[in-house]
């Protein structure tokens, strides 16, 4: 097992009090897995990524275990963690500008990434070679004028270009685990297709493990072999991507899949799951989805369901007891 998450809970301290955004999570990742993390806005997807790279803000705290390479990421020293972040677990942040230094040129930062990997792999760190590698990598991401882009600062690029520069960094670093938080939201579908194919290649050739955070079920379907559906910081359903999407079991997963807009549904209002996600300040008792679920019954409102083994997957819903 490459990464094991056990009984993970995550908290944030805020002006309105301390609240728990991830509750008792367990998850296993094998080398070479591609797993998609989907779920509504604010369900805790980015928070989970930040815990795995230990990049939570000062107001955040985590309990439980995150075992990588036999060691607990939550407990090792900061120095060791810095090393891991550069070469073993790299995260592409949801806001790509957060992954870049605003006062350094794009080229400088990409060459730095190439250097880190080359040092790790004991390869030559010849400046010209690294520059060439960075440039080629930008071109593989369909960026025109790579040379000009390397000389610019992050704010002199378009939204989708910044996003690709950060993806480029990941391609140059080739980490063991890549956590990509909504990495293609600013890209149009043609370039998105290119990026997805590049990630697949890295996964095949380098056995790179990918945690792909997305709200796009279509994309999760295309890329990943495993799927984890989060709701209010809990895993509601997890298992093989194909089988979940073709036949979702949890009412929340069905709702999520039912709201994918497609070409046949253009007239009238778009479908959305009724109600809003609950506030972390006042989560419903019992099942956290119970106030929006169309199958809700007595027990759902009293007791929170366990993550049950159902057919080929895990589901947190009393309908399957």
């Amino acid at each position: 097992m490459l990464l094991t998450i056990r009984n993970l809970s995550v908290f944030y301290n805020t002006v309105v009090g301390k609240f728990k955004v991830i509750e008792d999570m367990n998850l296993d990742l094998e080398e070479g897995d591609i797993i998609s993390l989907v779920g509504e806005s604010a369900s805790g997807k980015s928070t989970l990524g930040q815990v795995l790279t230990r990049m939570l803000p000062g107001t955040g705290s985590a309990e439980g275990e995150v075992i990588f390479d036999g060691k607990d990421v939550l407990k090792i020293s900061e120095n060791r963690m810095t090393e891991i972040r550069g070469t073993s677990i790299f995260m592409i942040f949801q806001n790509p500008l957060n992954s870049l230094n605003p006062v350094k040129t794009v080229g400088f930062q990409l060459i730095e990434a190439a250097r880190i990997r080359r040092e790790r792999d004991h390869l030559s760190t010849d400046e010209a070679e690294m520059r060439k590698e960075a440039e080629e990598s930008l071109i593989s991401l369909r960026l025109p004028d790579a040379d000009s882009i390397m000389r610019r600062y992050p704010h002199e690029l378009s939204g989708g270009q910044v996003q690709r520069v950060v993806i480029c960094m990941a391609l140059l670093l080739k980490p063991k685990i890549l956590i990509a938080d909504e990495p293609t939201t600013a890209l149009d579908v043609t370039i998105q297709a290119q990026v997805i194919n590049l990630l697949r290649t890295l996964n095949k050739e380098m056995k790179m493990t990918i945690i792909f955070i997305t709200h796009d079920i279509g994309l999760a379907y295309v890329l990943s072999n495993n799927l984890v559906v989060l709701y209010s910081g809990r895993i509601m359903e997890s298992g093989n991507t194909e089988s979940i999407i073709k036949k979702p079991l949890h009412p929340y997963t069905s709702g999520l899949i039912g709201s994918i807009p497609n070409s046949s549904k253009t007239s009238g209002k778009l479908f959305s799951i009724k109600g809003s996600p609950p506030s972390y300040l006042s989560l419903p008792d019992g099942c956290k989805f119970s106030n929006r679920c169309q199958f809700v019954f007595e027990r759902c409102m009293q007791e929170e369901p366990k993550l049950l083994d159902v057919q080929d997957r895990k589901v947190k819903c009393w309908l399957y007891e």
Binding site: S41, G160, D188, N262, S279
Partner: protein, 313 residues
């Protein structure tokens, strides 16, 4: 329905690199990124125009020009028939708002959420803020006193939308406003935007790369490629029967849950510094003819459409 905004031959060239004294003294030629080139169009009030197109094709630049955050390098822009200049920018900013593509970097990081949203109102109006947050699915009590960095990506995006719609300006430029939202919340937001638009007769310029979103919300669609308009027409027509090969490609590359195959188009993306000769799309176009390599197709009427492609002469 009347004209609310017009672009006439607008160009926006960015310097590809800041020029130091030395470069200027040595008279090296500046290198330009041609973000928008000869763009002309008219926007009618009370309608929704979707702007789609490849990353880097000039969509955000177009929006920034509309809200007067960028000045065209050449060409003219008109708001309600009046040429935009220094004197009327204050008035324009009063009536046009923009929801930025990267909201977490455009919101004031030190302000509380409730104050960010009500900033454009004269006074803080708790009831209004509470109401709008509820409509975009944000829990008021949990978030009101937080700062932007304490919110998730999709929450920040909805704060930015709330901030713009609370005032109901005549024209709103929405730059990828739902890109961080899952389908269910996106649907809720789109429904809300459509309701507001109808009820208050607002005009939207809706920048998106999500064709389904464009299809749902827009009356008209404009497709940009490498800084130029290559297709324009009614929503139903353009999306049902796109004329330009790039628009066609855009529609066939959408990932669906029906197939795992993704076929990105081959060929080079165009440089904006040294634009390819002829049609900018010819290196990637499956129908490219000899002529496409040397002569640039003008934007011309074809039925109800405007299209820039030699296939439609």
């Amino acid at each position: 329905m009347s004209e609310i905004y017009r672009f006439e031959d607008v160009r926006k060239y960015y310097l590809s690199q800041k020029r130091g004294l030395l470069e200027i003294a040595m008279r090296t030629k500046p290198i330009y990124v041609k973000a928008l080139d000869n763009v002309s169009f008219t926007l009618t009030s009370n309608q929704v125009l979707a702007v789609v197109g490849e990353s880097g094709s000039g969509k955000t630049t177009m929006g920034k020009i509309m809200v007067t955050l960028e000045k065209p390098t050449s060409g003219k822009v008109f708001f309600r028939g009046e040429e935009v200049n220094k004197k009327n920018t204050a008035d324009i900013r009063e009536n046009i708002d923009m929801v930025f593509q990267n909201p977490s970097t455009s919101l004031n990081p030190r302000m509380k959420i409730k104050h960010i949203i009500s900033e454009s109102l004269k006074n803080f109006d708790e009831e209004k803020v509470q109401d709008i947050m509820q409509q975009v699915g944000l829990p008021y009590n949990e978030l009101k006193d937080k700062q932007p960095r304490e919110l998730s990506g999709g929450q920040v995006q909805r704060v930015a939308i709330s901030k713009a719609i609370i005032k109901k300006p005549e024209l709103i430029v929405l730059d990828e406003p739902t890109s961080a939202l899952d389908e269910s919340i996106q649907a809720q937001i789109l429904n809300l935007l459509v309701d507001l638009q109808k009820q208050f007769k607002l005009t939207y310029v809706f920048i998106t790369h999500n064709i389904y979103v464009a299809k749902y919300i827009a009356d008209f669609i404009v497709v940009l490629y490498a800084g130029k308009i290559i297709e324009y027409g009614k929503n139903e027509e353009v999306l049902e029967k796109p004329l330009h090969p790039y628009t066609q490609l855009l529609i066939t590359s959408i990932p669906t849950t029906n197939s795992k195959e993704l076929k990105p188009p081959v060929g080079d993306v165009p440089s904006l510094i040294n634009r390819p000769e002829g049609c900018s799309f010819h290196p990637r176009c499956p129908f490219a003819m000899e002529r496409c390599k040397t002569q640039e197709p003008p934007l011309r009427n074809h039925g109800n459409y405007l299209v820039a492609c030699w296939l439609y002469e």
